[in-house]
């Protein structure tokens, strides 16, 4: 017997009706087209460099509260990377 896929407190007649419907729908959905996930579609944040990550966060306004002088300490970023970000910001490139 297959393992139950859900749990809910229902009267027996509702429980039975939902269970039957779930089994039927599962079969139909499994027969239908499956989403195709290629390598591009996997979530791979580790592939992004710390600099790009910082830029994304700055762009989204997530670091507006932080002082740039403490950034290297909080994210382990080198001073060289920090100066790159500062330069991009001052040139309006971000």
């Amino acid at each position: 017997m297959s393992k139950p896929t859900f749990r809910a407190e229902w009267p027996p007649e509702i429980q039975k009706a939902v269970k039957e419907s779930v089994q039927k729908t599962q079969k139909a959905l499994k027969r239908s087209s499956k989403p195709h996930f290629d390598e591009e579609m996997q979530y791979q944040p580790s592939k992004l460099s710390p600099l790009n990550y910082v830029i994304l966060k700055v762009l989204q306004g997530q670091w507006e509260h932080r002082s740039f002088s403490v950034l290297p300490l909080t994210i382990g970023m080198t001073r060289k990377t920090l100066s790159q970000v500062k330069r991009l910001l001052s040139h309006g490139s971000l």
Binding site: F6, S21, T25, L29, P35, P45, L48, K57, I75
Partner: protein
């Protein structure tokens, strides 16, 4: 009979960040409001204040909070003011808001460090003998593991017992699925998108998945890419940040609230969904299991295709939805016995009497330094 509190009390609160709509800020405002109703004054202090009307939250400085009978320190991630807070010779209590494990943030060194530092700081407060509260049993259990044997639960919200008229949804009307939460990998919005891919063939035309919230910029980009690649651009909405009124509107037309998160400390949105008569489907992980306590539909499988089949089947059966909402309303009634302002007032006032100045806080050089505290798991 003698009045329990003749002299006016002052209870201040602190959290390193305060912003509109954020859960910890909402909690601080609720505590402030509840205490004001019984004549207890108090200010809210924060180091970073964002999008809040002037005067609601005050900027923290070292001489800010000395004039209170109790300072409630809300603790989540790394707190930059641990040192200055610990040196204040006033009674303090900690309110811990559970955070996801740092293993969810290996890609984000900033968050990773903040979460580890936050845990180290809990250990520091433990050495300072600061009493602690959490906002769920899940959080209390975490605190007990970290060495706070007397940690207690503090109400997180004020629930009014309500009776709602249940209306059946039209089976042929488009369905609207909703999730409210930060866009973060451990909240698994990607899986919600995947389950909607399956569901769109089962649902009437015009049905949609609404993902409310902002968050990790990388993950947000990824979700947008996923939506595009799966051909769901006209089916999935990433709403971004909403006002309170806009959020209420989303709950008002939602047919189901779906949560497949790996970690939820309490999950306030499921309570909001239950209040708005929206059936809740969830994976029984972490704090959400305690919040729902058997109400709603638990997903026992982790496969999106199974989730899709369950949601489609339940929403096709009005009697099943009615029974779920009835059970959810019972759960809200149970919760309202504890989650209310009266209980909150009682507990904070009792804390004012019980908690003297923590022993360690009189010592300007504690043995365990706030930033060097050993990492305790």
């Amino acid at each position: 009979m003698r009045e329990p509190f003749k002299q006016a009390l002052t209870v201040h609160q602190y959290h390193f960040r305060a912003s509109a709509g954020e859960a910890i800020t909402q909690h601080m405002l609720l505590i402030q409001q509840a205490l004001a109703e019984v004549g207890v004054s108090g200010k809210i202090f924060s180091s970073e204040i964002k999008n809040l009307p002037q005067g609601r939250v005050h900027k923290w400085s070292l001489d800010s909070a000395w004039d209170c009978d109790l300072l409630l320190i809300h603790h989540s991630q790394a707190n930059p003011e641990v040192k200055s807070l610990s040196r204040l010779e006033i009674p303090k209590a900690l309110i811990y808001h559970s955070q996801p494990p740092e293993s969810f943030y290996v890609h984000d060194r900033d968050m990773f460090r903040n979460l580890i530092q936050g845990k180290k700081q809990l250990s520091f407060w433990k050495h300072q003998n600061v009493p602690a509260f959490a906002v769920s049993q899940f959080g209390v259990n975490e605190l007990k593991k970290l060495g706070f044997p007397r940690a207690e639960i503090l109400p997180l919200m004020h629930l009014e017992p309500q009776s709602a008229a249940l209306e059946d949804a039209e089976p042929l009307e488009p369905k609207h699925l909703l999730f409210v939460g930060k866009l973060m990998p451990h909240k698994r919005q990607a899986q919600l998108i995947e389950l909607f891919f399956y569901l769109k063939s089962e649902f009437p035309k015009g049905s949609q998945l609404h993902l409310v919230g902002t968050g990790d910029p990388l993950y947000t980009k990824y979700l947008k890419l996923l939506v595009k690649q799966l051909g769901l651009s006209s089916f999935v909405t990433l709403t971004g940040k909403l006002t309170e009124a806009e959020l209420k509107n989303y709950y008002s037309f939602a047919d189901a609230f779906i949560c497949v998160s790996d970690h939820e400390g309490f999950c306030l949105p499921v309570v909001e969904a239950m209040q708005q008569q929206v059936p809740v489907f969830y994976r029984p992980h972490s704090g959400i299991q305690e919040t729902m306590a058997g109400a709603g539909v638990e997903f026992l499988s982790s496969r999106p295709v199974d989730h899709a089949a369950i949601i489609a089947s339940v929403l096709k059966h009005p009697a099943a939805v009615r029974a779920l909402l009835k059970k959810q309303n019972q759960r809200l009634k149970e919760m309202a016995r504890f989650q209310n302002k009266k209980k909150l007032q009682e507990m904070v006032l009792s804390a004012c009497q019980r908690f003297p100045i923590a022993k360690g806080s009189l010592n300007p050089k504690p043995k365990v330094k706030p930033h060097d505290a050993p990492f305790v798991h």
